[in-house]
Amino acid sequence: VDVDEPAFQELAWPLIGPAYRLAYSMLRDRQEAEDAVQEAVLRAWSRVGQLQRAEAFRPWLLAIVANECRTVMRSRWWSVVRLDSPPDGPDADAADPVAGHLDLWMALGRLRAEDRSALVLFYALDLPLDEVAAILGISKGAAKSRIHRAVLRLRPQLALEVDV
C-alpha cells in the first residue's frame, strides 16, 4: 500500500481510539497507553509500504499496537500495580466516567495483559474472531479459547458461549 500522509491519516484516524483501548487494557496506564499508540502509529507510518492490502490496515495497525505494548511491558517487568489503589486507575479522577467499574478494573488486573487484550478486542471493539487472532498473532482456535478462559476467570458466574 503506497499512501501519502493525508491518506495515511484518513486510514489511521478512526483506529486511534480502538488502538488506545487496546493499549490501555494491556498497560493499565493512560500515559503509557498514549505513548504506545503514538509509537505504533509512527512505526506503521514508516512501514505502511510493506502492507499488502489496505483492507488489512486495521488488524495490521492493532497488531503493531499490541506489539508495542509488549515492548513497554518488557521494559517494566517489575513495576508494581496496586489494585487496591491504582495510581492511574478509575478512581484516580472522580470525574472519570469509568469510576463506577472499579470491581471490573480490579478483576481485569488479575488477568494477564494478553487476556485483557483479547477481551477488549472481542467484546469492546467487537472484532471478529479471526481478526482478534491475527492481531494477537495466534490461531483462531487459540484466540477463542483465550477469550473463553479469560471470561471465566473474570466472571466465573458467567456461562459464556463464544460464537465463531
Binding site: E5, Y20, R21, Q38, W45, R76, V98, V120
Partner: protein, 448 residues
C-alpha cells in the same frame, strides 16, 4: 454476537482521552522513511523462498566457520537475506554461542545447538506475555523466569523460576518464599544461578517493610539479605519498592524507581537510589548536569545491568520543554551515564549515537566496563570506554527495529528484530557485532 454488557463496561473503562487522534497524528514526521528495495522472503511466502533462505543461512554458517577474516557489514548494505519471520511472538532470547541458544515464545521454550538450523520445542513451562527472560549457568543449567498472577493472588505478579538441568528437556517450577499477601518488587538476575528480588508487606500498611532475597542456586533456595522500611528508604510518597533493580554484588545495588505515575508518585529531576550495604539503606542520587533544554524526570531513566561484572549504566530519554513526548525520528536525544562506585556517583552524561528511533527499539548492552553496545533503529555501535566514544559496528539487514540485543561475551551476541505484528527475526554475531547472521526462528511449540 459478543457479550454486550461486558463490551459496554470495557468501552467505559478504556475511554480514550479527548483529542487523542489529533495529538497522535500530529506527531507524524513530514516524510515517511524511504522504503528499501529489498525482496523479503515474507512477501514471497513460498516454499522456494523459504528453501532459498535456509540455503543461504546454511551457506553463511559454513562460510563463517571457515572464514579467516571477518567482513564488516556496511550500515546501508545488507549482506545477507533476512531469516523468515517467527510465527509467534518471541518473548525472550539468549545465545551462549553462535550455535547454542534458547527462545521463549508464548507457546513454550525452544533450544538449538546448531545455530538455529534445528530447534527442539519444550512446552513444559507456562509462558505468555509475562516472560522475563532466560539465563544460563555453568553445568548446563537454564533458568527461565516468568511472572504469574491469578485470581485471589496479591496485586503484584509472583515471580516463577523455571529451572532445567538437562538443556530444557525437563523443568522444575520454583516459587520464591512468600504468602498470599506478599507484594513482589523488582528483580535482579545475574545468570542462571544468582538473582535477587524484593518482597514487601502490603503497601496499604502504614509502614511496609521490604526484604531483599538472594539466591545462588537458580531459585531453589532464598536467603534474606537485608530488610528496610520502604517509606523511610524511598520517601513518604512512594508506597511500593518498584522499578528496575540491579545488584552488582551482594552489597552494592542500584534502583531506578520505575514509571509509576500519579499524585502519589511525584516526578522530579532524574535520580536513582543506591545501596552499599545489601539493601538495608538506600541513598537518593540525582544524576549530574542534565543537558541544557532537557526536562526529563525520574520516569525517563532506564537502568542497564552488567552481564559479566563491572558497573551498570543509565540511559536518560531527553525530553523537551514541558516534557513533551517527542518520539519522532531525530527528536528525542538520549544520554548515557556511567558509574565507578556502584551508583553512588555518576559521570556527566554522554550523548548516544543516532539514528534516533522509537523508544522500544533502543537497547544498551553492558557486558562489562570495556564492552558496551548501543542499538538504535537497525544500527549497532560499540564503546570500550563506558560510553564516552562510540564506533558504528554494523546495521542489521533490512529496515527493522532492534527489539532486543544481548551479548554472552565480547564476541557472541544476538539480536531480535521485530517486524511489527508480534513476529520477529533473529540474528547472531560471533565477532562482537561487526557481522550478523540470520537465524531461522523456531515454530511455535506444540504440546505433546
Amino acid at each position: 454476537m459478543n457479550d454486550g454488557r461486558l463490551g459496554h463496561d470495557l468501552l467505559d473503562l478504556t475511554e480514550p482521552p479527548p483529542g487523542l487522534a489529533r495529538r497522535v497524528l500530529a506527531g507524524l514526521p513530514a516524510r515517511r522513511h524511504r522504503r528499501r528495495d529489498v525482496a523479503w522472503p515474507r512477501r514471497a511466502a513460498g516454499a522456494a523462498s523459504l528453501l532459498l533462505a535456509a540455503t543461504i543461512v546454511v551457506a553463511l554458517l559454513v562460510a563463517r566457520q571457515s572464514a579467516s577474516a571477518r567482513q564488516t557489514v556496511p550500515a546501508s548494505a545488507p549482506a545477507i537475506a533476512p531469516p523468515p519471520a517467527s510465527a509467534s511472538g518471541i518473548a525472550a532470547v539468549t545465545f551462549t554461542s553462535p550455535s547454542a541458544g534458547w527462545v521463549v515464545q508464548s507457546s513454550g521454550i525452544s533450544s538449538t545447538t546448531d545455530g538455529g538450523l534445528h530447534w527442539t520445542g519444550q512446552p513444559g513451562i507456562a509462558t505468555g506475555a509475562a516472560v522475563i527472560g532466560v539465563w544460563t549457568a555453568p553445568g548446563g543449567v537454564i533458568l527461565a523466569v516468568t511472572q504469574e498472577q491469578g485470581p485471589g493472588q496479591p496485586a503484584t505478579p509472583t515471580p516463577i523460576f523455571w529451572r532445567s538441568t538437562d538443556g530444557g528437556a525437563h523443568w522444575r517450577r520454583l516459587v520464591p518464599p512468600g504468602d498470599g499477601s506478599t507484594y513482589w518488587g523488582p528483580i535482579s538476575i545475574r545468570d542462571g544461578g544468582e538473582a535477587w528480588l524484593v518482597a514487601q508487606t502490603p503497601a496499604t500498611e502504614p509502614d511496609p517493610v521490604a526484604t531483599v532475597l538472594h539466591t545462588t542456586d537458580g531459585g531453589q533456595t532464598w536467603q534474606a539479605q537485608a530488610t528496610f522500611h520502604v517509606k523511610a528508604a524511598l520517601g513518604p510518597h512512594v508506597g511500593d519498592f518498584q522499578g528496575q533493580l540491579t545488584f552488582i554484588d551482594s552489597r552494592r545495588a542500584v534502583l531506578a524507581p520505575g514509571a509509576a505515575r500519579g499524585p502519589e508518585f511525584p516526578t522530579e529531576p532524574p535520580y536513582v537510589f543506591a545501596t552499599a550495604d545489601g539493601g538495608a539503606h538506600w541513598s537518593k542520587v540525582h544524576l549530574p548536569d542534565p543537558p541544557r533544554g532537557i526536562d526529563s524526570t525520574n520516569e525517563h531513566v532506564a537502568l542497564y545491568a552488567p552481564v559479566a561484572g563491572g558497573q551498570p549504566a543509565l540511559v536518560l530519554d531527553g525530553l523537551g520543554p514541558r516534557r513533551e513526548n517527542l518520539i519522532g525520528p531525530g527528536s528525542t536525544p538520549e544520554y548515557v551515564y556511567a558509574t565507578a562506585d556502584g551508583g553512588l556517583h555518576w559521570t556527566a552524561p554522554h550523548s548516544l549515537p543516532g539514528p534516533a528511533a522509537p523508544a522500544g527499539s533502543r537497547r544498551l548492552v553492558v557486558l562489562d566496563d570495556a564492552h558496551w553496545w548501543w542499538s538504535t533503529g537497525g544500527g549497532v555501535s560499540f564503546s570500550a570506554d563506558q560510553g564516552r566514544h562510540w564506533t558504528a559496528r554494523a546495521a542489521l539487514p533490512g529496515p527493522e527495529q532492534v527489539a532486543d540485543l544481548g551479548f554472552a561475551n565480547a564476541a557472541d551476541g544476538w539480536a531480535l528484530a521485530e517486524i511489527g505484528a508480534g513476529a520477529g527475526r533473529l540474528f547472531t554475531t560471533s565477532d562482537g557485532g561487526r557481522t550478523w547472521t540470520g537465524v531461522t526462528p523456531p515454530d511455535p511449540v506444540r504440546a505433546g
